[in-house]
């Protein structure tokens, strides 16, 4: 099944109680499939057709405030239109989960893959994860509820699927037994929520808070995020038990321990980079890879540990912040403790193959040997 359908199956198997749906390419298949599940009675959730993405997130926040497990999905412009409510969910500690099919922002118009949309929401108080495959999309859809609702965290989780290369690519997906998911994901008890609104006993949320209390409220979210690493690791470990499949925690290390060059990637093309590392090793170049599965909280210590044996590190950003650079490279700079080359690649959906990653790794080695890694490389830029 496709990555989009895998997310829908995950949301069904996690027994989401509210789905707020608004269509946008390349996400629409997720909410279409969920509509089918609700119609057939395979899912007992309430399916709310809203009039915009902004309203979709508002509906999810309201549902969570009443103790209902809620989900929505969006992409690119829908995500930005939703942005005000995304901050409300994060800063209000409502454990919503959302799939984001990462797509380039216009203008000029594009429907293809890029990660700048999801990364634009990185300061909103959400856990941010990225999926490499349809299988991981299914697994993440379930794990996201567990992470979001964990009483040590209680914050929303969004997870990215690369447009088309995960969202519409059909792959093998193992589904879990309903009873196993039920054991993994207990019902959302209102006592766990930071904000619970009892419809029988109405109250309000979001009143004016003066400068005397706001810092403390923000600090409590910071502390929740300090615990997020452990929450995610626990969620992944328990999921391994019910699925019998190995799961990636914060980062995936691939052939890193003896690598002279380590690429740092996230999302679908990490698989192409793994194949590239294998090809390079066949040719006598010790290449490895760190894949970021989690971007918030940013696993800086784990990454710097993983690359400690490398001569040079190549961060590959499929996103860009003008006047700053690739977003991941900028965030990791100063934590890597190694020569770090910055690559910008695959913007606007330009395809990335194992050949591209071989080239990137070799270029990084060459730059490392020359001792100058200051230049940001736009990979494959046409003249």
């Amino acid at each position: 099944m496709t990555g989009n359908h895998a997310v829908a199956y995950g949301v069904r198997d996690a027994s989401a109680e509210v789905v707020a749906a608004y269509p946008i390419t390349p996400q629409t298949q997720i909410v279409e499939k969920l509509a089918e599940f609700v119609e057939k009675g395979e899912m007992r959730g309430r399916y709310i057709r809203v009039e915009s993405e902004h309203s979709a997130m508002a509906a999810c926040i309201a549902a969570e405030a009443c103790g209902a497990r809620s989900f929505t999905a969006t992409s690119s412009h829908g995500l930005l239109y939703m942005s005000e409510m995304i901050f409300w969910a994060g800063l209000g500690s409502f454990p919503v989960t959302m799939a984001v099919v990462t797509r380039t922002l216009a203008p000029p118009w594009s429907i293809w893959n890029e990660h700048t949309d999801i990364l634009s929401q990185r300061d909103a108080g959400w856990v941010i994860m990225m999926c490499e495959s349809a299988q991981e999309a299914y697994d993440t859809a379930i794990q996201a509820f567990r992470i979001a609702e964990d009483e040590r965290l209680v914050q929303p989780v969004m997870y990215g699927l690369d447009a088309f290369s995960v969202s519409h690519t059909a792959e093998e997906v193992d589904l879990l037994e309903k009873k196993d998911v039920e054991g993994y994901l207990p019902p959302l008890e209102p006592s766990r929520l930071r904000v619970y609104m009892d419809p029988e006993n109405p109250g309000t949320f979001g009143n004016l808070v003066g400068p005397d209390r706001m810092m403390e409220i923000r600090h409590s979210i910071k502390e929740a995020f300090d615990r997020a690493r452990v929450v995610i690791k626990d969620a992944v470990r328990d999921y391994e038990k019910i699925s019998g499949r190995r799961q990636v925690g914060l980062i995936e290390e691939y052939r890193c321990s003896d690598a002279e060059v380590v690429m740092i990637t996230t999302g679908a093309s990490s698989g192409d980079a793994k194949d590239a590392a294998d090809y390079l090793r066949d040719e006598g170049v010790r290449a490895g890879l760190v894949r970021l599965r989690v971007i918030r909280p940013l696993p800086r210590e784990e990454i710097s540990d993983a690359v400690k044996g490398a001569k040079v590190v190549a961060v590959v950003d499929r996103d860009y912040s003008f006047g700053y650079g690739g977003i991941l490279a900028g965030e990791l700079e100063g934590y890597i403790g190694k020569k770090m080359c910055r690559f910008v690649a695959g913007l606007g959906g330009r395809d990335l193959t194992p050949e591209d990653f071989k080239g990137i790794a070799m270029k990084a080695l060459e730059m490392g040997e020359k001792g100058d890694v200051s230049k940001e490389i736009w990979w494959g830029l046409k003249g």
Binding site: S133, D162, T169, S270, K274
Partner: protein, 180 residues
């Protein structure tokens, strides 16, 4: 084993569905399978490309297919197009929907009259022959790793009842009639 198959057709011929069926059939045969669509501005009748990968190891990559082992040409007219053959490995296989037997240098050519099979089974949408199930049947035969039983199961999962019967007949007939 690592096989890459690229499918060329027109919007409305069911190219993406065919690539998904091939991947699914491979998985049912115990291989790993992946179907990769290429999405552009789809319109009925415009050229469409999709690819499938079949491997005995897990498939990790997600990029498009540039150097296929096999191409499946859904539209007779496309045999003449250079971009359809682009990247096809030397000695690679071309499975073509054609009445005659086109000669394509350097490649092994297999032919099936998928349009006729589709029309005779009533597989028409808006005046177009939907040739995907016939092309899947022919491709399965040429690849030699997908059985008729698995094909039947893949077709039945997608189409119920009488429409399923007609698609299955088209699939199995192409499986028998493809020649090389």
């Amino acid at each position: 084993m690592f096989l890459e198959i690229r499918l060329h057709g027109r919007g409305g011929q069911g190219v993406v569905t065919a690539s998904e069926m091939l991947a699914e059939a491979a998985i049912l045969e115990g291989y790993h399978g992946q179907s990769i669509p290429y999405f552009g501005a789809e319109r009925r009748g415009a050229p469409v490309v999709a690819s499938a990968r079949i491997s005995d190891k897990p498939i990790r990559r997600h990029g498009q297919v540039y150097t296929p082992d096999t191409i499946c040409v859904f539209d007779t007219m496309f045999v003449l197009r250079k971009d359809v053959r682009e990247g096809l490995k030397e000695g690679g296989t071309a499975i073509v929907n054609h009445k005659k037997f086109p000669k394509i240098d350097k490649f092994r050519v297999y032919v099936v009259d998928a349009t006729k099979i589709a029309v005779e089974n009533g597989l028409m949408v808006a005046g177009w022959a939907v040739v995907n199930t016939a092309m899947v049947g022919a491709t399965a035969k040429v690849l030699g790793i997908i059985s008729k039983e698995v094909l039947e199961s893949v077709v039945r999962r997608r189409w119920r009842g009488e429409l399923g019967d007609r698609n299955l007949r088209a699939t199995l007939r192409a499986f028998e009639e493809v020649r090389g």
